[in-house]
């Protein structure tokens, strides 16, 4: 048992997902949904608790578990717990018809399994398999409403392009393995830093970055975002934008040694994403697409922080006690808190067609609670104080400045100034436009309204006490 103990969280989650699937037909369908929802919530909580428990008191330097497949480093564990929290949030905020409840919740749990594996991956195979568990669950969740044509279209587009990208990723891994002869990222790191990397390794890492860039939706691998975001269920869109990207970000941390040689690629990713994402959103009128483009810009900001790496700069000027990866962690939490709520809220408003800005008119009057929450989320995404998104940007950019990057934070600041425009348009249409003849339809249960309100309060509270997130990180 002791040997397998570190794998307990993953086991609980995966077996729990199977269990829920089996449980589906056993109960009468009236209470089934609520029943399954609370069970899956309990499973996620148990997983998180186990994760914290098994990692507690690990000796430093943090050992690898599962025969070198997973790391127990605190940052990665913290990431995993955050992703579990997003899954729990989604379980609460989404509702499904009774007969689909089993598949829905078990898919969410499988998605969580993929995330916590990917976030803690310590070898190439774990990265690949974690990513695929995550991706394949997402294919199903995106196409979950198979009765809608657009949903099928989004599902197949994501599936084909993600498959294409993982082909690149896989081939890159093969080349890396061909050069270094090992799957362990730590060993690859040692070998790569010890010798001058040959062209083959460079190509390998380049192809790997294609896969990473696709998952993060960084320009130029961002093309799928608008369509897929548009056609997925609101809560799933939130997960794609937040924790699915976040898991990839966490998985990429061990590869940060690439910054030594490959920083220009990351720099380009970041700059293009910030410029492209913000410019693309300006003329869009479909709300989910606006947020999709904004998510591209946000990945640009995150990559800016990544450039700072995981070490502290010797003569840092701004915020010297915060490393790039810690800033990224902060941002992932801040962004997840905001974007999950925003997409879920749009999901509640969404009608049959694509949701446009015009459809938002009058929501402020029809459902002030939801509109207020959406306002807070958008406020935070725009990076305005006192919402938590403001600090996210500050930490990222100051980390980048400390690492000696000057232009990138500047591009980011200017880009976010441009971006304010489309966030403002959402607010304007929510509150400051007279509604059309028909009132918008807003469907949110009491539970969902409370969940939304809770996360809106959290977004503000984390902005007032941003240190909390770092304390959380230090607790691991």
């Amino acid at each position: 048992m002791g040997h397998y103990q570190p794998l307990l969280p993953d086991l609980i989650l995966a077996m729990g997902a199977t269990f829920i699937l089996l449980l589906g037909p056993l109960r009468d369908s009236q209470n089934l949904r609520d029943f399954l929802r609370w069970i899956s919530l309990g499973l996620v909580a148990a997983t998180a608790a186990t994760l914290v428990w098994v990692n507690h008191g690990m000796a430093t330097p943090y050992p690898l578990v599962g025969e070198g497949w997973l790391t127990t480093a605190p940052l990665h564990t913290a990431f995993a717990v955050v992703f579990l929290a997003t899954i729990a949030w989604t379980i609460l905020a989404s509702t499904v018809p009774d007969e689909d409840a089993g598949e829905w919740y078990s898919m969410l749990l499988f998605l969580g399994t993929g995330m916590i594996i990917l976030a803690r991956a310590a070898n190439l195979a774990a990265v690949f398999l974690g990513l695929e568990v995550l991706s394949i669950s997402l294919y199903i969740l995106i196409a979950f409403r198979y009765s809608k044509r657009s949903s099928l279209r989004g599902g197949i587009m994501y599936l084909l392009l993600a498959g294409f990208a993982s082909g690149f990723l896989l081939f890159g891994m093969a080349l890396i393995y061909a050069v270094f002869g090992t799957l362990q990222i730590a060993e690859i790191r040692t070998l790569a830093l010890a010798t001058d990397m040959g062209p083959m390794a460079k190509v390998g890492f380049g192809l790997l970055l294609v896969g990473v860039g696709f998952k993060l939706a960084a320009v130029p691998f961002h093309m799928w975002t608008p369509e897929v975001y548009e056609s997925s269920p609101g809560t799933v869109t939130g997960l794609i934008a937040s924790s699915s990207k976040g898991a990839m970000l966490a998985a990429f941390i061990p590869f940060l040694f690439l910054l030594e040689t490959h920083w220009s690629i990351i720099w380009l990713f970041a700059a293009l994403s910030m410029v492209g994402g913000n410019l693309l959103g300006l003329r869009e009128i479909r709300v989910k697409r606006i947020l999709a483009y904004s998510s591209i810009a946000h990945i640009g900001y995150v990559l800016t922080g990544y450039l700072a790496g995981d070490t502290l700069s010797a003569n840092a000027a701004f915020l010297p006690s915060i490393t790039g990866v810690n800033a990224v962690f902060f941002y992932v939490v801040a962004y997840a808190a905001s974007i999950l709520g925003a997409f879920a809220a749009l999901g509640y408003i969404q009608g049959e067609r694509d949701l446009t800005l015009r459809d938002l008119r009058g929501v402020g009057r029809r459902n002030p609670v939801l509109a207020f929450c959406l306002l807070i989320f958008v406020w935070s995404l725009a990076g305005l104080p006192p919402a938590v998104g403001f600090f996210g940007k500050i930490y990222l950019f100051s980390a980048a400045i400390n690492a000696g990057y000057f232009w990138l934070p500047l591009i980011g600041l200017l880009g976010s100034a441009i971006g304010i425009y489309y966030y403002l348009r959402i607010i304007v249409h929510l509150f400051m436009m007279p509604a059309d003849a028909s009132d918008p339809k807003v469907h949110a249960s009491t539970l969902q309204e409370w969940v939304m309100l809770g996360s809106a309060v959290a977004v503000i509270a984390l902005g007032l006490f941003p240190e909390t997130i770092f304390s959380f990180l230090r607790a691991f």
Binding site: L7, A14, T18, L21, G66, E67, G68, W69, L70, A93, S94, T95, V96, P97, D100, E103, W104, S106, M107, F110, T113, I117, A125, A126, L129, G130, E132, V133, I136, S137, Y139, I140, A143, F144, R145, Y146, S147, K148, G155, L175, G198, P199, M200, K202, V203, P233, G234, T235, A344, G347, Y348, Q350, G351, E352, K441, H443, S445, Q448
Partner: protein
């Protein structure tokens, strides 16, 4: 030597059949070409001293996955009749840019391969038993995850496949999702 001849034969066959997959109009032929390509790759595996993988390639890839393709293609009757948009071959003009890009990619990778390749070793590891031991000791987590992936694939196929039996007029609401 015999192994090398086997390799080159298989390689030529693999490239030829794989190219045909991209080119051919008839989907059934495409599937069959792909199966041949997989057989050829299996031969390459043999020449690389990996007989177990050669068998797996044929049984799982060609035998199971491709049969799934064949099944669907037959069901949808994608024979590639004239005027069928779906299986239309890409025109030469449409091929220029992607072709150039793909060629560039190929050249870049191959050039980098030949630029700094360390000498190859000759270790022959053909024993499936060793591989089995490795899988269930060092890589047991991978086996577990593979299992999960197959499970998810099954569930997903079942869930989405259910849509086929439901008339498209019957919308199934998921309230945060549809109304």
């Amino acid at each position: 030597m015999a192994q090398n001849i086997l390799f080159y034969l298989a390689a030529v066959m693999a490239v030829a059949t794989t190219s045909m997959v991209v080119i051919t109009r008839n989907a059934v032929y495409a599937v069959l070409y792909l199966i041949m390509s997989l057989f050829a790759v299996a031969l390459v595996f043999l020449s690389l001293n990996a007989p177990f993988l050669a068998l797996v390639e044929i049984i799982v890839y060609a035998g199971a996955i491709m049969v799934l393709f064949l099944f669907v293609v037959m069901m949808l009757n994608l024979q590639g009749q004239r005027g069928d948009e779906a299986t239309k071959r890409p025109t030469r003009r449409q091929m220029i840019v992607p072709g150039a890009l793909a060629l560039l990619l190929l050249i870049l990778i191959v050039v980098s391969l030949s630029a700094g390749t360390p000498a190859a070793t000759n270790a022959a590891l053909s024993d499936p038993k060793l591989l089995g031991e490795l899988l269930f000791t060092k890589h047991y987590l991978g086996v577990k995850l593979s299992g999960i992936i197959l499970l998810i694939g099954t569930i997903g196929g079942l869930h989405i496949g259910r849509g086929g039996s439901i008339p498209s007029t019957m919308e199934k609401p998921i309230d945060d999702v549809t109304h």
